[in-house]
Amino acid sequence: MAQGTTPIESPETEPGRDFTTVSGREVKPVYSEADIAPDDLGANLPLPGEYPYTRGIHPSMYRGKLWTMRQFAGMGTAEQTNERFRFLLSRGQTGLSTAFDNPTLYGWDSDHPLSEGEVGKTGVAMDSLQDMERLFDSIPLDQVSTSMTINAPAAWIFTMFLANAERRGIPFEKLRGTLQNDILKEYIAQKEWIFPPAPHMRIITDLFSFCAEHVPQWNTISISGYHIREAGATAAQELAFTLQDGFTYVEHALAAGMSIDDFAPRLSFFFNSHLDFFEEIAKLRAARRIWARHMKERYGAKNPRSWLCRFHVQTAGCSLTAQQPEVNIVRTALEALAGVLGGCQSLHTNSMDEALALPSDKAVEIALRTQQVIAFESGAANVADPLGGSYFIERLTRDLEDEAEAYFAQIEAMGGMIQAIEKGFPQQELTRAAYEYQRALSDKRKIIVGVNEFVNENEELLIPILEIDESVERDQIAAVKKLRETRDNIAVSRELDALERAARTHANLVPHMLDCSRAYATEGEITQTLIKVFGEFREQSFF
């Protein structure tokens, strides 16, 4: 570090207080000029909208356009989720975000034996184009942008979305939205994979290429730190592993022969906003600076749009408590404000009841209202990067950047992210961090209000809790069985066979998946067809 430190001793410190961040970072009592490099407030800190975009991707930030208010929603059947979507749009939400149930996230149909008990529980059940038609019924897909949180089977769920748009006469060029499509963080954190890494990376690259040609406004991937953080990572680990995953996707697309400026402008990111207000803001600023520099200087991108780290932010689910859930509204508001001051492009605010169940209508409405208060009442949206130039924020931004670079070097030395994942390196780093954080809670070095301090022993739960009716699973299974009896099964077999043949070559698989989707092949049938060629991934378990 070039910087010095503020020469202030801490004369008075209350005994027993902890002064580390939620990531365990030591912070000092005060920051001054002595804590930053001379250029960190000058040449190294251009205005918002200027490379390397530390202060934001647009010159006027939220004056030009507010962030998109996008609440992640999905439960039960496609009809129920459609109803929730329309409820949110009616309350002033400006984009949609789809949560799928576990069987869908693993590429299985609702009637797969291992789907039992899971259908529609943590998201909407999606088996075929038929469910996609019902999910987006009456929603103007050429006007509302749509995000889909799905990874391992992302490409063939997306082709169902495309097939539905096609049936409704909406041209692919008009579709706007984001596919999460980030398999690397699945191996690291969320654990919803199907194949080993190589075939997944191939399909992701196929999708970059297909969308560059046919769906130009679509964000082909949302490279996600969110789940890495939820699984226990520190802010620096979230930043480092996410951006390293991003470099890995870039390198695979380049190796497949694409040119950087053809796909890089459609790469997007997804970060967590945890409780440590200033550290989170610094992390988001550091992410923009690191990404811009690597894209321009390391990968030679020429189009300024390729340099932009555009991201969605979600408040930290792992910071929510089951105890006194109404207090979660306050936690979420602080985290959301950090996301806004960090310059996010879209934002999800968690609902107060999410440590207990999927959110109720009431809880999700308050969560959305929280964003609206920040946008329209707090004044936070009036000025771009209002914390830019703060000694503390600039020093934290620099420190997080340096820590991320140290991780990049360590991972490169292992041969890259895929090799690091195969060795279990990022997984072990965050398992260790999660354990250390839990110890800090057990030892009360860290305080969570209402959980390990200020506990209300006689608490009564006074908020409504959403339940998913058991009939959802029965209805969904009946619907998929009926579909298999009524569709043109000769066409389905023909398209699945064509997909299998293509998978054995180097052909782009997305057009074949689209043909399968058009024929109402189910998600599970497409998955099984590809497993025949690509095999399945097995994790080494450790703790």
């Binding site: 291992l114 008990g117 899971e118 943590t122 226990g232 089951a322 809790i465």
Partner: protein, 139 residues
């Protein structure tokens, strides 16, 4: 069983990938002197009970945050009875509403833990349960 450490099989049944809690608890149990067999993700009730039988475990701990807890806990409990493990403790944690915890308790499932609970409380609970429920095959 006096003298030998308490043996706990920890697993995640079904499709839920949230393994942060299960891993923190597994490590806490080991630090407390218990022996932990961590089965990891994508287990079935059958595979978990088979492992408990093979390991002669004292305790089975399930982690379910996917909403499928009723299906998985009920099936594991039924299989434990069927395989002669009815005298062992079935406990666990996740996002499990109080109402469901009560239903499961009536079926012989032990205490279930949730977000915010201290992992050390799980250690205490297991130790106390074992003390109060000596195994029928104990010499």
């Amino acid at each position: 069983m006096s003298g030998s450490p308490i043996k706990v099989v920890v697993g995640k049944p079904g499709l839920d990938g949230h393994d942060r809690g299960a891993k923190v608890v597994a490590r806490t149990l080991v630090e407390a002197g218990m022996e932990v067999v961590y089965l990891g993700l994508r287990q079935t009730p059958e595979s978990i009970v088979a492992a408990a039988l093979e390991e002669d475990a004292d305790v089975i701990g399930l982690s379910v945050l996917s909403g499928a807890h009723m299906t998985h806990f009920k099936r594991v409990r039924a299989l434990m009875e069927e395989k002669g493990l009815g005298d062992r403790l079935l406990t666990g944690g996740g996002i499990i509403p109080t109402k469901d915890q009560e239903t499961l308790a009536a079926l012989g499932v032990g205490k279930l833990f949730g977000p915010g609970d201290d992992p050390d409380a799980i250690v205490d609970y297991i130790r106390e349960w074992i003390r109060e429920h000596p195994r029928e095959d104990a010499v």
